[in-house]
Symmetry: C2
Subunit: 195 residues, 2 copies
């Protein structure tokens, strides 16, 4: 068999590190922090998002790193449904955001792939329940379990102020699922873009 | 629903970083290096395996990091078959080893989970073809794509000298599969434990 010549990064999924700093200044002002489960994070007033891991802002309360990576559970038909509702980050009207770092239990990580997929989607409808909220809620998942970070995932959402109630509705739905019984640490950090 | 109280790390899958240094000395002496595809690595005489990411040995030709992490494709029935053939690393008779860093193409990482699983197992039989080689060949996979490393995986194998031919047979089988058409860089480093 011949090797594929497919190194073109055109629409590749880059695995790139992003760091979220809880700091004294930054593009996003923290408006509310709710420790949903597990240990809290130290207090900070702003969140600074940096694609440069070497930049270390002054007076940082916490720094959390994650990699925007390839999909782990999404199947072809779901990928097509998601791609049909493009919801890019950085839209000017999306002046609200949520950073929700999450860790799951060792029991979750011991499961086989088909068991995790079954809980994630067949039982909990993580993708199917989230789809109706696109494109009002834009999101990006960052993986950090393999980086030795304190959380397994950093979940990031952006939306216009008028869509925050819908976002809360989505969160409430997800938190009632079987998948969420495996969540052992979750911190809900709400943000407003600083003008 | 109540939160699970399952933080016991007893048989948890820890996500821990391991670094492989190509160096001038180390527990494993390099006997042969074959660049199967893609760019070669600089020459080194030994491989030093370190669980401490802060240790930097002298005169290192290359350092590759990866995380021993949870399974990504293995399903429950396969996990049981694998668990039924325990093949631990570090057996005294396993004086030979292979370190095979691998990268897959952007086309692979763009695929949905079900598409990757189908190629990995239904088409290529990665797990079913490997099973008969356990426990003669012990193996550990380290993930490094999300770490910003030059490879996606570091694959590590240990076996007794009399099983090296069988290991070569397994490699030849895997390299003929559809999965391997997505491998764009692969370096086969053979090692003997230094006495």
């Amino acid at each position: 068999m011949t090797k594929r010549q497919d190194d073109a990064p055109a629409d590749a999924v880059p695995s790139q590190l992003t760091t979220f700093h809880g700091a004294e200044s930054g593009v996003w002002k923290i408006t509310r922090v709710k420790t949903v489960s597990g240990a809290p994070l130290p207090a900070a007033s702003h969140v600074l998002v940096s694609a440069d891991a070497t930049t270390q802002p002054h007076r940082v309360a916490w720094s959390l790193r994650g990699a925007a990576s390839h999909v782990r559970y999404v199947e072809r038909h779901e990928k097509e449904a998601l791609d049909a509702r493009p919801s890019p980050l950085g839209r000017p009207e999306a002046s609200r955001a949520a950073l929700i770092p999450i860790s799951k239990s060792p029991a979750w990580w011991r499961l086989a792939q088909d068991e995790r997929r079954k809980i994630f989607e067949s039982s909990s409808g993580h993708i199917s329940q989230s789809l109706p909220y696109l494109p009002d809620v834009a999101r990006q998942l960052y993986h950090c379990r393999d980086l030795g970070e304190p959380f397994d995932f950093l979940t990031w959402f952006e939306f216009a102020p008028e869509h925050e109630a819908r976002f809360d509705e989505l969160l409430a739905r997800l938190r009632r699922t079987e998948e969420w019984t495996f969540v052992k640490r979750e911190i809900d950090i709400r943000l407003t873009r600083a003008r």
